[in-house]
Amino acid sequence: MSFSADLAKFPSATSVTMNSEGGTATTNLQQGLAKVWCFATEAAALTDSFNMTSGLDNGTGDYSFTIANNMNNATYAILNAVYVDSGTYPVTNQNVAGDATTTTLYRVHHAWVDTGNSFEDLDRKNYHAVFGDLA
């Protein structure tokens, strides 16, 4: 059997362990990899992504994203950032709607506070990464 054939079995191993940079510990490769990421437009269209099926625009500042290969549970970690393309939005942020998170979907909410302390929902580009266990 060839080396490449042997290597093809590699992903089926239970886990892949790597030595740490400092040499005193090990770390698990699968646990350290992002399982989903995306760059999506203000309308939730996926400009670039990994392991994501689609985005859905639910209304102003309200988006849902569907994962292609399911997560193992709904307790994964979701990192997100929001894009601001002008100086008129001094404080912007994006939060996860935690109650909506499932193994196949998560929902986020964009908003901003302006210099006059007005709070409003906001349509902006999406940047996300998900860490956790795949099903």
Binding site: M18, S20, G22, T27, Q31, L79, N95, W112, F119
Partner: protein, 133 residues
């Protein structure tokens, strides 16, 4: 049966998409977690975090299982909005608390009438990149 591979470069089955193993190792997150920050704090899911402790309203201590090699690691985070439609919530590192074994974070909100105010959040997410000890 455990086996060991010693390679400098990884490619896909077609010989494309070459990547140095040093990039794979360096770019792999060394810790992540999803924790509950209300009532009794708890790690709901995690890798290389041993515990989270309650240091006061919106203040938490995060502890690694395997230490980092220095206190210069990168921290990224996310959180829920707890269903509130009129406030923005966030999480950041508490100044001067980063150490190889642990760090502290604060969760807070701002809205149209309130400046930054620490608050306990039901769900907080964080990921750590850097060098393990």
């Amino acid at each position: 049966m455990a086996s060991e591979l010693r390679v400098n470069t990884l490619k896909d089955a077609s010989g494309n998409n070459s990547i140095a193993t040093s990039v794979v190792f360096g770019g792999t997150a060394k810790a992540w977690c999803h924790f509950k920050g209300t009532e009794t704090e708890a790690l709901l899911d995690s890798y290389n975090f041993s515990s989270v402790d309650d240091d006061g309203t919106g203040n938490y201590g995060m502890h690694f299982t395997s230490n980092m090699t220095n206190a210069l690691y990168a921290f990224t985070a996310g959180n829920t909005d707890d269903g509130a439609g009129s406030s923005m919530y966030a999480c950041d590192i508490t100044e001067n608390t980063m150490a190889t074994a642990n760090f502290d974070v604060e969760t807070f909100y701002v809205n149209s009438s309130t400046n930054r105010t620490d608050v306990d959040l039901t769900e907080v997410y964080m990921v750590i990149h850097g060098d393990l000890a």
